[in-house]
Amino acid sequence: MIKFSQVVKRFRGQTVLKGVDLEIPLGHRVALVGSNGAGKTTLIRCLLGEYTHEGRVTIDGMDPRRQRTEVLSRVGFVPQLPPPLKMPVGQLIRFAATLGRADPQRIAEVAGQLGLDVAQFRRHPFFKLSGGQKQKLLIAIALGRDCDLLVMDEPAANLDPEARHIFFGLLAEKREQAAMLISSHRLDEVATLVNRVVEMDQGEVVLDDRVDDLVDMASRLFCRVGILRPEPAFARAIAQWGFTPDAAGTTWEGWVAGPDRLRFLGVLSRYAALLSHIHMDEPALQEKRA
């Protein structure tokens, strides 16, 4: 579906992409990882037809620069940094929905699922929303359209755990109908969302691997974490995941989205010396076992 052939991009003599070759068929969910300056954003901008370049980029044989409207009507994009748009939320939704031939109500519904009440913010300038609210709205605009390619740059970075779980569920609904390109500078942030990892370094693809995607993106794990003694720093960290303590403050319980398990364990690892036990269980798995 997506094909990069010998894509080279230079900025004032500096070569940022050095002949990238890459194919991404439908159903592939690709993590595009690499350090800052590896060329991830440049590759995405070439894919969106925003940069001129050498070589060829095609989506189903179409050039995203020459056939912009045909190609981009099939692409949902979520940038890493929300743009400082002054227009009201309602206007932005109308603008995106009209261009993408989508139903504004559907976009508002997706935003609602993510925990953003569009009706409340309709007249609110976009740039005055919080970081998480902006991210939710941009995700809603991307997922509320009929796209078969989702391009997302650190899409869940600003979301709270509950919104992340819903976001993963929405992605799960799209997994068979769309290809996904999810950019991140940390693999653990996106590892469980994808079935393929492409790593870039200094403008080149240095790793292209398929990975197991046994994790159900819509799943949730029930977790119980025991600690040796109450600790305020730990309490603050785990409360952000929506966990609640027992009366003694030494056992915390809550739910973690399936694709977030690695990220959650990463948070716990910071308090390894404090942990007495960890229990994680997927109810659906328990039922299967029974």
Partner: protein
């Protein structure tokens, strides 16, 4: 066409909420208010009084303020939007580059022209309420001149925004362009150039090519139809164009120039990196 108007409306909505627009509106609204506060309509100059007197002063002040305001606000906001990632996001949506560029230009034109025009209309309305006669011919002609001047500098601003990658460079370039045009408004400089060997026709050609000078001369023509204030160069202008011909030239030349610059900006925009 739908995409074009959608972009224009979006740009208008964006601009109406921007600080530069508030300052811009306050400046032109403030000028008209000050002209009334200081009783300019009651004063007399070169036979002009009432609303004609106000329009003559307003147009002179507009010539000083409008070009630099249009240039700087256009390049700052357009190049600033590009730097801040607005282009990256909005141009990831399915919109044609032509519809985006020209829609933005039309939206921006409405935004920069309307405060200037509405301030003038407000002045006229206030004058009518106070029983003054409305010089409709002068009003229409000045509207045409302001429209033409705003379009011309908007075209230059859009071209500079397309050519430069950062808001600071764009703003610097806009100032250089404005200062250059301002420099050639100076009749003393043109006089020195003639004394230095430049043929008088060359000096007149420079003046006729400078949209600010064209505007200035055309504005002058309504209250000094023989252009006595211009001196000998008035003969060249009146011999070549005649009064009516020059008035047509003064409106059409900046319009064409602005369109040419905007078109060049579009060609560059279409072939270069968008964000």
């Amino acid at each position: 066409m739908k995409q074009l108007w959608l972009t224009a409306v979006t740009d208008i909505v964006e601009s109406l909420r921007a600080k530069w627009f508030m300052v811009y509106t306050l400046v032109f609204g403030g000028i008209v208010a000050l002209l009334f506060v200081f009783g300019l309509t009651e004063s007399r100059i070169m036979g002009f009084t009432g609303l004609s007197r106000m329009l003559v002063t307003y147009i002179q002040l507009s010539m000083a303020i409008l070009p630099v305001f249009v240039l700087v606000t256009t390049v700052r906001s357009v190049a600033g939007d590009r730097e801040a990632g607005v282009f990256e996001y909005l141009l990831s949506l399915p919109i044609g580059l032509g519809a985006w560029f020209w829609g933005k230009l039309i939206g921006r034109f409405i935004v920069v022209f309307m405060p200037v025009f509405l301030a003038m209309v407000a002045g006229i309305v206030w004058g009518v309420i106070r029983g003054a006669d409305v010089p409709w011919g002068m009003f229409l002609y000045y509207t045409g001149l302001l429209l033409s001047l705003a379009w011309c500098f908007l075209g230059i601003g859009i071209l500079l925004s397309s050519l430069t990658r950062s808001a600071d460079v764009a703003q610097g370039a806009a100032f250089v362009v404005w200062l250059t045009l301002l420099l050639f408004l100076d009749l003393v400089l043109l006089g020195v150039m003639i004394r230095g060997g430049l043929p008088p026709e060359g000096a007149v050609a420079i003046a006729l090519a400078n949209p600010m000078q064209v505007f200035r001369t055309a504005a002058m023509m309504l209250f000094d139809n023989q252009l006595v204030m211009l001196g000998p160069s008035a003969y060249v202008i009146l011999d070549h164009f005649g009064q009516a011909g020059y008035m047509v030239y003064a409106i059409s030349y900046p319009l064409l120039l602005g369109t040419l610059f905007a078109w060049l900006g579009y060609l560059w925009f279409r072939r270069s990196d968008l964000p």
